[in-house]
Symmetry: C3
Subunit: 392 residues, 3 copies
Amino acid sequence: MAKTLRQTDDGTARELEYVTDPDEQLEKKPGTRYGAAELGFRHYWYPAFLSRQLGKKPKSVMLLGENLVFVRANGRPYALFDRCVHRGMQLSEGKCWTEGTITCPYHGWTYRLRDGELIAALTDGPESAVVGKKGKGVRSYPVEERNGVIYVYMGDGNPPALEEDVPEELLKPEYVFEAVTSVWNSNWRPAVENGYDASHATYVHRYSLRWRTQFNLPPAWAGKVESQVEGKYLIQRRRGPFGFEANYPGFGLWPRHAWLRKALAKARKKFGPKGTPMIAGVRLPCLIVNHYSYYSHIRYSIPIDAKHTRNFQMLAGRFHGLKALAFRLQYWLWHRWVFHKWFNEGQDKWIVEHLDYSAPEQFFRPDSSIVQLRKYFEKNARTSDPIDGMKE
Amino acid sequence: MAKTLRQTDDGTARELEYVTDPDEQLEKKPGTRYGAAELGFRHYWYPAFLSRQLGKKPKSVMLLGENLVFVRANGRPYALFDRCVHRGMQLSEGKCWTEGTITCPYHGWTYRLRDGELIAALTDGPESAVVGKKGKGVRSYPVEERNGVIYVYMGDGNPPALEEDVPEELLKPEYVFEAVTSVWNSNWRPAVENGYDASHATYVHRYSLRWRTQFNLPPAWAGKVESQVEGKYLIQRRRGPFGFEANYPGFGLWPRHAWLRKALAKARKKFGPKGTPMIAGVRLPCLIVNHYSYYSHIRYSIPIDAKHTRNFQMLAGRFHGLKALAFRLQYWLWHRWVFHKWFNEGQDKWIVEHLDYSAPEQFFRPDSSIVQLRKYFEKNARTSDPIDGMKE
Amino acid sequence: MAKTLRQTDDGTARELEYVTDPDEQLEKKPGTRYGAAELGFRHYWYPAFLSRQLGKKPKSVMLLGENLVFVRANGRPYALFDRCVHRGMQLSEGKCWTEGTITCPYHGWTYRLRDGELIAALTDGPESAVVGKKGKGVRSYPVEERNGVIYVYMGDGNPPALEEDVPEELLKPEYVFEAVTSVWNSNWRPAVENGYDASHATYVHRYSLRWRTQFNLPPAWAGKVESQVEGKYLIQRRRGPFGFEANYPGFGLWPRHAWLRKALAKARKKFGPKGTPMIAGVRLPCLIVNHYSYYSHIRYSIPIDAKHTRNFQMLAGRFHGLKALAFRLQYWLWHRWVFHKWFNEGQDKWIVEHLDYSAPEQFFRPDSSIVQLRKYFEKNARTSDPIDGMKE
């Protein structure tokens, strides 16, 4: 049981057990699936690369703790398990002598990209007995490329349709989006939880430039946070009564400088674009979606290993023609730097990397969003049985 | 049982068990308190910072394996356990919005510095239910500031008076002292033991400048080393017959160049200040004191974790007015560089960091100082029971 | 049992157990001597330094996981276990006040280099009681210096004659040789196995400059690889039918650019020196020997610890007078850079350091060389009993 040191009423300090609602702390409880999912949930499609990142040179990547090698052949991306079955060498250090094959750099074992079958063992001649034998191929992974993103199915059995797993903003032609990737030095779960965390934004991001421009006047606290399943998402809504400024006993006024925010909000109401409140949602396996007035922010926090997460962040809007161009331009001139680089890569990355996720926890009212996220993932994540997984 | 390889008489080499007096090697014996005290002895006051090192910005420090955050408010220093009870964030990365409180950087949980109580959860409004609830505060540590040093009580229960634990040279107004801190990459025990080690000085420090000027003619060996309890110290005295130079069978003359030392000592007797032999003492929890002719050297070797030690070194003298000023001047022009930086930070740090403290040991006559230190610490260190600890 | 992920026939992917001949994978089987020999085989002579690398200053080196200190006295090299029995300090940081002794830098314990006996404890005076006592010496190692190389016997009991363990090219006066040392970040076994690996050369080294000049036309594959014991070596011979170029189904022609190689080989036959095919051999404890037309390449891959190997590489030829000089000149102008630095230090080092030696394996025909090497070492390595070891 988690313990901590604190000063007790009689002046002595002792190690105390935390007294918390056992339902809340799923990831601390042994035997839970969310608690065990240090390396993420399998049996889902995950984005692996942006199309522009993959060419004819093999590229290695770790996803959910597995080493994969990706390579493009005849225009199509392929993925294999990145270890030659012969002696354990990395295939990603090898060469694609012909399109559609990859050759191990050690003894020339050559695999077909399509299915991982061993088609030649060069240094044993064209009639080598190992070729075509059972058990000599490497695992191949189902891969799909859509709208500039390469997805890989990390699981057993036949994969579901891509549309089952990937937000429509990234698949349907009526949307445009721009993307950025980055690596955070943390487990993937605090990264996802932080994205759905109802109250950290009003403190951590309060003084960020982006926040100020997107909202009329963000409340400093809310009476209630509710999560409910809507399609494939768990959607969070903050209910009133809302608080904007108050005197805290023993502390004083907070937020500071609220008058400035109010004045800005007032001016904004008059001159600025109409803003609608942000809606935040999470989705399995590791997606965070924020809907803003005219665009959506979609973030995958993909497990690399237990201590590293690859963030795939996309800003998507429903635009055509010139408007689509303007959206892209705005992204490259503003959002990429202010939203993606500063806001997410700066403030959120800093938080998540400094957090001791293994520490005991004490929840308060706004944390119902975290509790509901954990329960939703626990209950709805696909299981290891592919048939079962497909039923979802 | 500790083993080592050696060549035996019949020409074979085998792993041999060390045959040593079991009383000597306390830190190797399971079940001893000294052996278990990898992270130091709790229930003592320890120096944490020099006053000039702490301002209104929170500062984290690790002592005895615990993370603490120190901050100054209304001129007074405070210390809390450096982890927000909410989600495990470091408080030391937070902000002091008002003097006397510290706010977690993640969700604005705000603690009173004085006692660690949670007085506000900013993002849950002024009426948050977590405020004032049992078990939501962080541990606060007793802190005292005296003569430019900030002390913290690392233990349970009510702390004893500071005078119980801290040498009078650092507390009484009739003394002046100057201090320097540093980190050694070693456990704290070899650092303390090295300071009390009767014989290493005559070899390691024999050719250091400081040694030569402080002593008339240091003996190369002594007939006996005696330790006895004097007040709060274990004091070591070297007894004769003393040796200054000899022919060692199979080796030859040692020390080399003793004639030069003798000549210098002779000249020194005529022209130099009268020197009195150094007295060395140790004191719980991790203090080494050396009394020289007109000043004392006091060193705390404070456990950071099992492999790092913070050395708090002070040179103290009983001076007033102009003499005090002269003493400080001498420190900054001479002792700081020759004594603290070269002698201690150079030679002793090098020794202690290179030593394999986990190796088996074979003691010789001068090591009685080490044996007596270990026995004294083993017997006299305060126990985990605060009442018991107070009785000492 | 080793497992891997692969795509099965029915489209599902599962963890499959590798099905391999249990005789092949000696180093994966618990209970085998080769599998346990992570730190190498003891009871052999190993080269430790080149003569020119050792002077009167003590030098530490790790061999087979043991720390040794080497030093030269009166022209002879000596080796002791590099840890003072007193407090565990490294003797290699100490000083040789007189030729034939080494003094610990901490308290002046002084050992005789010849046998490791403690002959003085300087800081305890010339009559110290520890001197001459049983169990106070450090282990000394048998050391021999021949033709510019310093050898040490890493084992128990009386060592065999150096001639038992070291190739005659390095001992007999009719040979000249030049040497180079380097450290690889891998275990010693993949380094030795790679040197004896029959098929990697035709793929890894096919495009290296050295290969092209040494051979007429290297076959790309061979019908059979045979190993047989010849004296102290296990010698490998590749038998036909040999293949030089072929069309591989589903892959195409390999090797590429064979026409260029053929043309070069043709020209070479006319104008170049007559080449004889290379013969490869291995020898206990960790030797690889390649015999070329007019010289031999001898490599020791000596275990430092489980993850580092010191390669001692030598090129030896049977030459006298001016021819010997020419051989040395050729080495320094050509072989050292092309053979030792590029070929071995470049290509082989890269392979061995990238290999996951702990991965499951699937062997093919040419791997019979690896299998035979493992079986030979397993059966013939000296045991821990010195008498037994001598019988070999």
